[in-house]
């Protein structure tokens, strides 16, 4: 499968998370041309702001490796990550620490992007990851716009107002 076809699957995952009231980001971890983990944001569900799609996928890969008796450290180095939005600084750091093979992302992340937009995480780490951006970026961005049109249903009242204000700017 090519990058566009993978991205369609990741976008589908993002759409599902939009319906659950999460920031719509979808992610796939591909190992030997096979999807071994699929994830989306679960920040509201877990009340944990770090539960981004990529971190959920990392947990799934660890389970996959345990079930298939594989060395997770080695598996991670062969994984290609396909994600609808540029990984944030935290997720980019996680992917660097795991020394994954490559990142393909959809739209840039102007708020938190850790590949190029806000802070270049690669400068901190020795590992070099091949990064390709703007694969179906328009579609990925549209999903984010759809989300931010509404307000975050899980934020407390005081934050909702602020968020709305911010997004109108």
């Amino acid at each position: 499968m090519d990058a566009n076809a993978w991205m369609d699957k990741a976008l589908h995952e993002a759409q599902i998370s939009l319906k659950r009231g999460e920031v719509p980001v979808g992610c796939l971890f591909i190992y030997k041309n096979e999807i071994i983990a699929t994830g989306s944001n679960t920040v509201n569900e877990t009340k944990n702001a770090t539960r981004h799609a990529e971190l959920n996928c990392i947990d799934d890969v660890l389970v996959y490796c345990q079930e298939n008796n594989l060395n997770s450290k080695e598996v991670f180095t062969k994984i290609d990550v396909v994600v609808t939005v540029e990984p944030c600084i935290m997720c980019a750091a996680a992917l660097h620490q795991l020394r994954i093979n490559s990142i393909i992302y959809g739209c840039a992340n102007d708020r938190f992007g850790g590949c190029k937009s806000v802070f270049e995480v690669s400068k901190v780490y020795d590992s070099k990851i091949n990064v390709v951006g703007n694969v179906k970026g328009v579609e990925a961005m549209q999903l984010l716009k759809d989300f931010y049109k509404g307000t975050n249903p899980n934020a407390p009242e005081t934050k909702k107002g602020r968020k709305k204000k911010l997004d109108n700017n």
Partner: protein, 377 residues
């Protein structure tokens, strides 16, 4: 009755002692925009022939050459026009422009002057003073920022409480931390309003590559709010229950959640000895903790106390979680981005910021860190 856990006793003694001598001073990690010299640029100014012409000149210039908010238009008879770059350094061009905009060029002397002025608004008293040597500025000092720079931001009791937290973090790291060269140590999340420790975690990267101390601590706080992603507490999984991982002893008594469970013996700080993290003089400090009406939201308003400067993963996890302050002991020259390799909290564009202090019991923290187990990740 069980003997009192050593860290708990130490913590209480420290918080209660009034005459503690501090061997350390928290160092604020500030951006270059705050610590650096004011940035100057060259601008053209005109000299008015008569002070009666000032108000008309100001009105006329407001339309054609608006002035940045931080600069004053006039200094005596001199009146600010524009950065020289805007007119390629050519005063003749500027005068032609003024004439075209119906500015009364006869009201000013023939020769324009060039002055240095602050190119952006000064942030600190020291920058404002530098700017003033060249051209007057509008400046209102930020009292909190000045206290931060001057080091007078914390009261003695607050420092004692921060030290107590760091001693707990050291004990936790020595007890259980397993990390990598990139990130290791322990993390506490505390609520400065109530003075309670909410979560305490030691790196457990032998169990999971993402189980850095801050990542665990953030998930423990989520757990205490009815969320959480990882199986870190006894109620999560029967296997963990057998291992006796972690759980609050009494769900309602505000005891900290901890991971791994072996840290529980360090806790048990009696309720009567809550930490004095908030200022006594409350007027001075803005309330940034979650409001009572809405309940806690992530780690909003909480403080993080870390043995070592966090890696990008942990730094950003704490930023996403909206902690308001971070204190760390030892610097992290490998991947630290709150002072060593970068200052994440001063990167433009991020929508939440925390304040950061380094050097809390730095030498002792560095020695504790040497005792932590390191694995190759």
């Amino acid at each position: 009755m069980d003997p009192e856990p050593p860290a708990a006793k130490m913590t209480r003694d420290l918080v209660e002692s009034k005459k503690h001598e501090f061997t350390w001073k928290p160092q604020p990690i500030l951006s270059k925009e705050i610590t650096g010299d004011v940035i100057l640029e060259k601008s053209f100014v005109a000299v008015l022939k008569d002070k009666k012409l000032i108000s008309r000149a100001i009105q006329s210039l407001a339309k054609c050459l608006p002035i940045p908010q931080h600069l004053k238009r006039c200094s005596g008879l001199r009146i600010y026009l524009a950065p020289i770059n805007k007119f390629q350094g050519d005063s003749h061009k500027l005068k032609t422009f003024l004439a075209e905009k119906d500015f009364d060029v006869d009201s000013i002397e023939d020769d324009l002057e060039i002055v240095n002025n602050a190119s952006v608004a000064p942030r600190t008293k020291s920058q404002a003073a530098q700017a003033l040597e060249h051209w007057p500025v509008n400046f209102h000092p930020d009292i909190d920022l000045e206290e931060l720079i001057g080091g007078s931001i914390f009261e003695q009791e607050q420092l004692a409480s921060i030290e107590a937290c760091m001693r707990l973090a050291m004990a936790a790291a020595k007890e259980a931390a397993v990390g990598s060269a990139e990130c290791n140590g322990s993390a506490l999340i505390v609520d400065p309003e109530s003075g309670s420790v909410l979560a305490i975690a030691a790196s457990s990267m032998d169990k999971h590559p993402m189980w850095h101390a801050s990542m665990l601590a953030v998930d423990l706080v989520a757990k205490s709010q009815g969320g959480g992603a990882w199986s870190l507490t006894t109620s999560d999984r029967s296997r963990d229950a057998r291992e006796g991982t972690c759980k609050r002893k009494h769900p309602d008594d505000g005891q900290a959640l901890c991971y791994p469970h072996s840290l529980a013996k360090l806790l048990d700080i009696p309720r009567s000895c809550s930490l004095n993290l908030a200022k006594t003089n409350r007027k001075k400090e803005k309330r940034s903790s979650p409001s009572d009406k809405t309940g806690p939201y992530l780690c909003t308003g909480y403080w993080a106390v870390l043995l070592r400067e966090p890696c990008p993963l942990c730094s950003m996890a704490l930023l996403h979680s909206r902690v308001s302050r971070i204190f760390y002991g030892a610097a992290n020259s490998v991947t630290g981005i709150l002072g060593s390799k970068a200052a994440l909290h001063s990167v433009p564009g991020l929508n939440h910021r925390y304040q950061v202090w380094s050097s809390v019991l730095e030498d002792e923290c560095a020695r504790s860190l040497e005792q932590c187990r390191t694995i190759h990740c």
